[in-house]
Amino acid sequence: MASATGRRARIGHSVRSYANLVPYVFFALFPFYFMLVTSFKPNAELYNLKSIPFWIQTGVITDHYRFLFARTEFLVWIKNTLIVSVVATAVSVGLSILAGYSLARLHFRGAGTFGTAVFITYLVPPTLLFLPLSQVVVWLGISDSILALIVIYPTFLVPFCTWLLMGYFRTIPREVEECALVDGATRMQTLRKIVLPMAVPGIICALLFSFTLCWNEFIYALTFISQSAHKTAVVGVTADLIRGDIYYWGSLMAGAVLASVPIVVCYVLFLDYYVSGLTAGAVKG
C-alpha cells in the first residue's frame, strides 16, 4: 500500500518535471525549427499573411539553397572560415598547452601574477579592443585578409584555453611526473610523453571550444574584412545576403542553417566535452 502511493508520488513528480521542461525545450529549439522551415518554403507562401507559418503547405523547395551556391560566394566563405578556424585553433591550443602546463605545475617567481593576468585578459570583452586592433592589422599590412583573423583570434583563444588546460593539468598526479624526471627524462620529454597523454580530454575540449569560438566569431571578422571573397561564413551570411534594405528571408535562413551545420555536427558528436568545458571554463579557479 505504502509503496503504491510512493510510486504514484514519484510518477507525479516526474510528470511535473517534464511539464516544466517542455517550455524550456520549446523556447530553445523553436527558432531553429522555424529557420529550417523558412529555408525550404516557397516565397509565395512565405509572404502570404493567410498561410500558417509553422509548416509548409505548398511543397518543399530547395531554391533558397540553390541560390546560395549559384549566386553568392557561400562556398568561399565556408572555405575561409574553415582555414581560419583550423589554423587559429591549432596555434592557440599549442601555445596554451605550454603556458597552461607552466602555470599549473612549475614553480617560478611571478607564476601567480601571470595566471591572474591570463584570467583578466580572458575577461576583457572584444568590444574593448576591436577599434585599436583594426588599426594594428592595417599597420601589419594584413587588413582585409583572412590572415588578419588568424593573427587576432588567438588573443581570445589563448587566455580561454590556457585557463581551461590549467585546470586539467592540475588533476594529473604530480608523482607520475616526478618518477619520469628521476628516471632521467628531460622536462620536455616528461611533458610530451607523460603529461600530454593524460591531458587528452582537456586538449580535445580546448580544440572543440576554440574551433567553435572561431567559427562563431563576429565583431573582428565584421571589422577587419570588407571584400566579399575574404569574408567568413557568419559575416557573409549576415552582411552580404541583405542587398540594400531587402531581406531575402528564404536564402538568409538557408545560409544561417548551412553555416551552422559544422558546429552542430561537432556538438552532437562531442556533447559531453562541451558540457565539461563550459563548466570548467567558468567555475574552476
Binding site: S14, S17, N20, L21, V25, A28, L29, P31, F32, F34, M35, Y47, P53, L95, L98, A99, S102, L103, L106, H107, R109, F114, A117, V118, V124, P125, P126, T127, L128, L129, L131, P132, L133, S134, V136, V151, P154, T155, V158, T162, R187, N216, F218, I219, V234, V237, T238, W249, L252, M253, A256, S260, I263, V264, Y267, L271, Y274, V275, L278, V283
Partner: protein
C-alpha cells in the same frame, strides 16, 4: 694555468660540456617555466595589452581613420558625456543588463534544478537546451529577426490567432520598448544554457546528506530549495553572474544584427555605439572613449557584486 670553459668558448671550441650546460640551464624549473609561457606572453602583450594602451591613447586624441591626430586631453570624454545618444546608451546598457541578468538567473537556476532530477532522456534534454549557446549567435539572431518581422512576425501571428492581441500587433523592432524587449529576449535565450549548465555543475556537487537532514526536519521541497540548495549554490552562482554581467554588458552581436541600435538609439549598447561612431563614422578617438567608458561602470558593478558575496 688551467683552461676554463669560458676560454674554450672564446676560442670557438665547442667544449663537450657546452650542450650539456645549455641543457642543464634549460632544465632548471624556473627557466623552463618562463620558456613555456614566453610565446603566449608575447602574443598577449603585443595584441592585447598594447592595443589596450592604444585604446587609451586614441580616447585622449582626435584620431580619425587615416589621420592620426594630436593629443586633446579629455575632450572626447567631455563631448560624449554631453551627448544625448551616449546618455541614452548608458541607460540602455543598465536596463538591458539588469533585466536580462535577472531573467537568466531565475530561469537558469530553475532549469538547473529540473535538469538535476533523475529523468529519462536527460542527455537529450540537456543537449537541446544547450544548443542556443553553441550555434553562431549572429546567425540565430537572424532567425529571431525574421520571427520579429514587422509584417510576417510568427510571434504576432500566434498571439493574434490565440486571441491575446489585436491585429496587426506590435512592431517589435520598430518601437523602442518592444525593441528592447526583443533584444533582451534573444540575449536570455542565448545565455540561459550557460547559466543552467554551470549551475547544474554546482548543484550535483551538493552532498545528498544535506537534503536528507532537511527532509528529516520536515522541510517542504520549497523549503529545501530555499534553505539548503540556494545557500550552497551561492559561490557558483556568484561566479556565473559575474561572468554574465561582463559579457552581457559588452554584448555586440545581438543588438547589431537585430536593431543596429535603433529605433532612435533606444537599444544601443556601448559596443554598438562605439562601432557606429568609431568605424562607420571614422572617429576612432571618440569610439575608443565610448568603449573605455564601460570599464569604470563594469568595475563598479563587479566591485559591488564581490562585496556582496564577501559579506554573505
Amino acid at each position: 694555468m688551467a683552461v676554463g670553459p669560458r676560454v674554450l668558448e672564446a676560442t670557438g671550441f665547442p667544449g663537450p660540456g657546452r650542450f650539456a650546460r645549455i641543457r642543464q640551464w634549460w632544465e632548471q624549473e624556473h627557466v623552463f617555466g618562463y620558456g613555456l609561457i614566453l610565446p603566449a606572453l608575447v602574443l598577449l602583450v603585443s595584441l592585447v595589452a598594447f592595443p589596450f594602451g592604444m585604446a587609451i591613447y586614441f580616447s585622449l586624441s582626435d584620431y580619425w581613420v587615416g589621420s592620426p591626430g594630436g593629443f586633446v586631453g579629455l575632450a572626447n570624454y567631455r563631448e560624449i558625456l554631453a551627448n544625448e545618444v551616449f546618455r541614452q546608451t548608458v541607460q540602455n546598457s543598465f536596463v538591458f543588463t539588469g533585466i536580462a541578468l535577472t531573467l537568466k538567473t531565475v530561469l537558469g537556476v530553475w532549469l538547473a534544478v529540473l535538469l538535476a532530477r533523475d529523468l529519462r532522456f536527460k542527455r537529450l534534454i540537456r543537449g537541446a537546451v544547450l544548443l542556443p549557446f553553441v550555434i553562431p549567435t549572429a546567425l540565430s539572431t537572424l532567425g529571431w529577426q525574421w520571427m520579429f518581422d514587422s509584417l510576417y512576425s510568427v510571434v504576432n501571428w500566434t498571439a493574434i490567432h490565440v486571441g491575446l492581441i489585436r491585429p496587426p500587433g506590435p512592431n517589435w523592432l520598430g518601437q523602442s520598448t518592444y525593441a528592447m524587449a526583443a533584444v533582451i529576449t534573444v540575449n536570455v535565450w542565448r545565455g540561459l544554457p550557460f547559466f543552467a549548465i554551470t549551475t547544474l555543475a554546482g548543484l550535483v556537487a551538493i552532498p545528498r546528506e544535506f537534503y536528507e537532514a532537511a527532509e528529516v526536519d520536515g522541510a517542504s521541497s520549497w523549503g529545501r530549495f530555499w534553505h539548503v540548495t540556494l545557500p550552497l549554490l551561492k559561490p557558483v552562482l556568484a561566479v556565473v553572474i559575474l561572468f554574465s554581467t561582463i559579457f552581457t554588458f559588452g554584448d555586440f552581436n545581438i543588438v547589431y544584427v537585430l536593431t543596429r541600435g535603433g529605433p532612435v538609439n533606444t537599444t544601443h549598447l556601448f559596443a554598438t555605439l562605439a562601432y557606429q561612431i568609431g568605424l562607420n563614422g571614422g572617429n576612432l578617438g571618440q569610439g575608443a572613449a565610448i568603449s573605455l567608458f564601460m570599464l569604470p561602470l563594469l568595475g563598479a558593478v563587479v566591485f559591488f557584486q564581490l562585496r556582496y558575496i564577501r559579506k554573505e
